[in-house]
């Protein structure tokens, strides 16, 4: 009657994608505000934000039906 496997999949995917997005964004913030910034750290910080932006683009891809149907 209720599709428990689908429910577990949804729960896990939501958990991991939200955790990944928030972790990356937090890491980016931390890398860019930390004392004693080096070029490498700055680059890594921006890289985090770029990955987050890709995540948002993937979200738009999922939302807009025209992209994947």
């Amino acid at each position: 009657m209720i599709d428990w496997s689908a429910f577990v999949v949804v729960a896990l995917v939501a958990l991991f994608s939200a955790a990944a997005l928030v972790s990356l964004y937090s890491l980016g913030l931390r890398l860019l505000t930390v004392e004693g910034r080096t070029t490498a750290r700055t680059a890594a910080g921006y890289a985090c934000f770029v990955v987050c932006a890709l995540g948002v683009l993937y979200g738009i891809y999922l939302i807009v039906p025209g992209f994947h149907r």
Partner: protein, 426 residues
């Protein structure tokens, strides 16, 4: 003559339902960015409205059934008549208005299902409703959605706070506000693609039933346009009461929490809509906010408010079903019944609107955003704002960390055009 009247009535009511759907659900996307000052209230609702408008045009697939399988429609089942749809919509709209008056976020789709169920029971008997589907599509998801979203929101918030742990005086957490803008926008866009479709489906099916469209035809372009604008207008109007509940009534939301909550809402809603386990956005958003509240040490959850919201979720279906049933009963009188239905419905909606004016959480378009802004200030920021004499409308958020729906703040009418506290919020 008969069929034309009912079609016109259904279209008008469906569009009004679309409108209430819009302003009911603004809070899902925009309550936390408004609460943390990531976006000014007016900007937030404008962004949400535009994204809903865009989203409505993007949705290509319009629902083939009105009730999503809850009512045994089509071959071998009952024929859903325009009268039933009309009565169902009255139930949905009245319940949406009532929950808005109480500032309770409840699912608009569940209200629509409820109204239709009530109408179908009266019109076609108890056997027309598939209660197994009601359980698996409405009741259980209502338990599971806040649970999933709460766990996800809690985890995300804990992660965010751990990673950005303060080492010195510097705090990077203000940066979460910028992230919120993106995650909230995704929620608003997803809402537009999902919810405007439902109204388009209802109108299209009514036109087909009335013989004005051939079966299996898609929605005419004008239907898409009016539905898109109805939901966008509703979103822009902004259900400030519900925004207050979700932005400040459940827990005091900090930027870190706001970002985590909104990221959880986005992730859960997208996962649920693409992996085949439908969850209500409203319930997911409320769960995420509670989870984010639990994730910050020292933050309090107003469990009384949370309890009221949960109660509202569970009575949404039976309550709108009751209204829908009564409306369907009156509609059996024929044209007279429909006119009575429409008149009574209009009076009830107008009455709710009048009551909402008497206890205004929103007062005039320019002032209501200030009320929304000040009522979700944190205590510390509010005190600072008061010291600087910047608060023109000391809503209850200034004194208390949350807004009680039962005793709304004394409305202090601020002169239009006075500098507001928006700079403070930022």
């Amino acid at each position: 003559m008969d069929i034309t009247l009912i079609v016109v009535l259904v279209i008008a009511l469906a569009l009004f339902f679309d409108f209430t759907n819009g302003f009911h659900d603004t809070a899902n996307a925009m309550a936390t960015p408004i609460a943390t000052g990531a976006m000014k209230p007016k900007v937030a609702v404008t962004v949400a409205a535009v994204l809903n408008l865009v989203g409505a045009f993007l949705s290509t697939e319009v629902a083939k059934t009105v009730s999503g399988g809850i009512i045994r429609e089509g071959d071998g089942g009952v024929q859903i008549t325009p009268e039933m749809i009309f009565a169902g919509l009255i139930g949905a709209v009245v319940w949406n208005m009532f929950t808005w008056l109480r500032g309770l976020p409840s699912s608009s789709s569940h209200a629509l299902f409820g109204g239709l169920i009530g109408a179908a029971i009266v019109g076609a008997g108890l056997g027309s409703v598939d209660f197994g589907v009601v359980l698996s599509k409405v009741v259980l998801p209502a338990l599971l959605a806040p649970l999933i979203a709460g766990v996800v929101g809690y985890t995300a918030t804990r992660l965010a706070y751990t990673i950005t742990r303060r080492r010195d005086d510097k705090s990077e957490r203000g940066g979460f506000r910028y992230g919120q803008i993106f995650t909230s926008s995704l929620v608003a866009l997803a809402h537009g693609t999902n919810d405007a479709q439902k109204t388009m489906g209802v109108i299209t099916l009514t036109l087909i039933a009335g013989g004005l469209l051939t079966p299996d035809s898609g929605p005419p372009f004008w239907v898409v346009v009016v539905c898109a604008f109805a939901i966008a207008l509703g979103t822009y109007t902004g259900g400030w009461r519900i925004i207050q509940t979700m932005g400040g009534g459940l827990t005091e939301v900090k930027p870190t929490q706001g970002f985590s909550a909104e990221a959880s809402t986005t992730a859960t809603v997208l996962a649920s809509s693409h992996l085949g386990f439908a969850l209500s956005t409203t319930q997911v958003a409320s769960g995420s906010i509670i989870g984010a509240g639990l994730g910050r040490r020292g933050s309090k959850i107003q469990w009384g408010t949370a309890g009221k919201i949960v109660v509202a979720w569970f009575i949404t279906l039976p309550a709108s079903a009751a209204v829908g049933a009564v409306a369907a009963l009156i509609a059996t009188l024929g044209v007279t019944g429909l006119v009575i239905d429409a008149a009574v419905g209009a009076v009830v909606i107008a009455g709710i609107f009048v009551v909402s004016r008497r206890r205004p959480h929103d007062q005039g378009s320019a002032i209501e955003v200030d009320v929304a802004a000040t009522s979700v200030l944190s205590r510390r920021r509010a005190r600072r704002a008061v010291r600087k004499g910047r608060v023109d409308t000391p809503a209850s958020g200034v004194e208390a960390p949350f807004v009680r729906m039962d005793d709304p703040p004394e409305p202090v009418v601020a002169p239009r055009g006075v500098t507001t506290t928006d700079d403070e919020v930022r």
